[in-house]
Symmetry: C2
Subunit: 173 residues, 2 copies
């Protein structure tokens, strides 16, 4: 399978989560063994020589890609979670959503100083979530080697919020 | 690394999520590349000849193991999610918690009739969550080949709720 064929495994869902939005449903890609494997391999290809020590995944869909990528790259996996889910001492970041704010947390000892980190999420939309995660990791003195997404919605210009970082996305709209 | 060494990467957190409970924090295992890889390989070892078509992961920590296992086994990944998160038509199951109930959902077209499915979660405690997930999958006529956990808390006797199924856990307490 070629990377260019992956798009056909993504399903459009009109009016989810609200009217007027066409949601890109990736579960139809994930359930296809070949498409899932190809997606992970394509993400790994970009960063395989980057000496990644930790792959950071953002709850919940980011876990899916970050975990398999960490396994493939021989790196550790670090979860960034919603507030109150992590049991040990945490660092947190609060960021703006369309309506209101959201808070994400990581364990304060999850990545060391100068650790080489890849941040992974399923979707690059406005870039707000991953920008917040990157800033939280930088405040912990991690070295952000790159940011990887399965899908990028180019018309939302999320890349502009992340232009200090190497960005890779496998499927673009 | 041997499977028997994995236990030392798990951290005890007293009084989380509430007083009197000692929480088994697996993030310290996940962040260690070798321990994470060993865990996934050990889970895969048990089911590598079982012709698994889909690995089902339960939101959110179950995603971490199910995704890497699906990748390793060459299977598709299917998420079971909290209510309202999946965009397409769903089947759902509601089950009893210590206080109140919880509802989980899967896409109704996620696994086909007679599909060979492995259900994965991080922790086997009372077994209520995975029992509910297995019942939901069976109502969709999936064939449950097995259930895999990283950690089993034997004193909670979750296995009794799942005794119709092959169960594997990597670390026991």
């Amino acid at each position: 399978m070629k990377t260019s064929e992956l798009k056909k495994y993504i399903r459009d869902i009109p009016d989810f989560p609200k009217k007027g939005i066409i949601f890109k449903d990736i579960t139809t890609l994930l359930r296809n063994a070949k498409a899932f494997k190809k997606s992970i391999n394509a993400m790994a290809q970009t960063f395989k020589k980057s000496k990644i020590e930790y792959v950071v995944g953002v709850e919940a869909r980011g876990f899916i890609f970050a975990s398999a990528l960490a396994y493939k790259l021989g790196a550790g996996f670090v979860p960034v979670r919603k507030k109150g889910k992590l049991p040990y001492k945490t660092k947190s970041v609060t960021y703006q959503l369309e309506y209101g704010t959201d808070t994400l947390e990581m364990h304060e000892d999850a990545v060391g100083v100068n650790a080489r980190v890849l941040v992974v999420d399923d979707l690059l939309a406005t870039g707000g979530t991953v920008r917040a995660v990157v800033d939280m990791l930088k405040s912990q003195k991690a070295k952000i080697v790159g940011v990887a997404f399965l899908v990028e919605l180019k018309f939302l210009k999320g890349k502009e919020k992340l232009k200090d970082l190497p960005i890779d996305s496998i499927i673009q709209y």
